[in-house]
């Protein structure tokens, strides 16, 4: 979806402000939210792109006003409710009134080492890779109403495949519960001119990680 989360290239947000000696968490609830998210992910309650999509669907003012972990809270509540892990009433009341659903596994202290290692997103290829390093490609001009990882600023743009990053689960499918639908992933490089026009900084190049369905071979 073309939401306000897709902010690459947007003007008007001001300077980057760096907090000196920033703590890991600014409040204890932030750590709890992060840990709960890890635990629910380990339990396979939902996948990372479900979390992202839930946050993308927040009203734009909320998305921009909320802090990073506040967005996590709102996104997590949405997934918990929509996927039937608890009801809105239970979350509001702060107590469960019915037993939980069965989950495939549970994050406990004994499995922590395993759980803290990031899972692999590699998936078995379904077809040979269509592109190879050096290929000139054009990103497609797609505007799905649902989750995608092709940012607006890089749509319909001419780039060069730099590297194939293997075959991965496909976020656009995962987020709408249509399975992993494995796709080849490529690093695609664009000149700043191609992205931002004739006045762009000639020394800048930008790459995105582009799934194969985002790309077509460029005619020239």
């Amino acid at each position: 979806m073309d939401g306000v989360h897709d902010m690459g290239g947007m003007d008007g947000f001001g300077k980057v402000e760096v907090e000196k000696n920033e703590p890991v968490f600014h409040a204890s609830w932030e750590g709890r939210v992060l840990a709960m998210q890890r635990a629910m992910a380990y339990a396979r309650a939902w996948k990372i792109d479900h979390s992202r999509f839930a946050q993308e669907q927040l009203p734009p003012i909320t998305y921009l006003s909320a802090s990073y972990y506040q967005r996590w809270v709102l996104g997590m509540e949405k997934n918990i409710i929509e996927r039937g892990f608890a009801s809105a009433e239970e979350l509001k009341a702060g107590h469960a009134t019915t037993p939980g659903k069965m989950l495939r596994r549970k994050l406990t202290v004994s499995v922590l080492q395993d759980a803290l290692t990031r899972p692999s997103y590699f998936r078995q290829q379904q077809a040979p890779a269509l592109f190879k390093p050096g290929d000139r490609v054009r990103t497609r001009n797609i505007h799905p109403k649902t989750h995608t990882r092709l940012p607006r600023y890089a749509r319909g743009k001419l780039g060069v495949v730099e590297q194939c990053q293997g075959c991965h689960m496909y976020p656009d499918s995962v987020a709408v519960d249509q399975g992993d639908n494995p796709q080849w992933l490529y690093t695609v490089v664009f000149t700043a001119n191609e992205l931002w026009g004739p006045d762009a900084d000639l020394t800048v190049r930008v790459s995105i990680e582009a799934f194969e369905p985002y790309l077509e071979l460029a005619s020239r």
Partner: protein, 210 residues
């Protein structure tokens, strides 16, 4: 929190935070009562991110690459595998990619769509990395962003911005600081700042840590 810092809305930090605190407490209670989560495991996770993983992990990798050409080559070829050979650093999942700064090319990492970041090697991202100013500007005006960090690069240095739009995660291998011949890995690691591994900063000079 940076998202609140634009100063244009009458946010009431106090009441908002306590509302969020209450919501988070409710979440944890409900998820525990449902049997989905184990609060004791949450404690360990929080402690892990607060004390066990952070930029020091990445700094050790960078310092080793600076001293050990074979390791550097392995790191640039397959960072996940190379980092996996270092028992004293954490195990990292697939998809870690190391990108090398040279006199000709400076790398900078961003995630415009959310805030993807190499947690396993750098810990949790700083607030600025997750902020709208950084996410919006890094891909369009990287030199302007570097200026916000007080960094000026030669005008002919190529700047390569990596937008982390998938599960690949990028670690910038900065250029080794001058005047560090013969330094130990431990000492070199002290020069390696978090920002230098994101690409918004440079490693410290020897004079800055003495």
């Amino acid at each position: 929190m940076a998202a609140h810092d634009h100063g244009d809305e009458p946010h009431q930090h106090g009441s908002e935070l306590s509302e969020t605190q209450l919501r988070v407490r409710a979440l944890e209670t409900v998820l525990s009562e449902k049997g989905y989560i184990d609060p004791a495991a949450l404690d360990v996770i929080v402690d892990y991110y607060e004390t066990k993983v952070g930029p020091r992990n990445g700094a050790k990798v960078v310092a080793k690459a600076w001293r050990d050409p074979a390791f550097k080559e392995a790191l640039l070829a397959d960072a996940t595998k190379a980092v996996g050979t270092l028992g004293h650093v954490s195990r990292v999942g697939d998809h870690l990619v190391a990108v090398e700064n040279t006199p000709k090319r400076h790398n900078m990492v961003v995630c415009t769509l959310c805030s993807c970041y190499p947690w396993e090697i750098l810990g949790l991202p700083p607030t600025w990395y997750k902020s709208a100013p950084y996410r919006s500007r890094a891909v369009k005006d990287p030199r302007g962003v570097l200026a916000d960090f007080g960094v000026t690069l030669p005008m002919d240095t190529e700047i390569r911005v990596w937008d982390s739009t998938a599960e690949t995660r990028f670690l910038v291998l900065p250029m080794r600081s001058a005047g560090t011949d013969g330094w130990s890995e431990e000492k070199l690691a002290e020069l390696v700042t978090r920002d230098s591994m994101i690409g918004t900063g440079l490693p410290k000079n020897p004079s800055e840590i003495r």
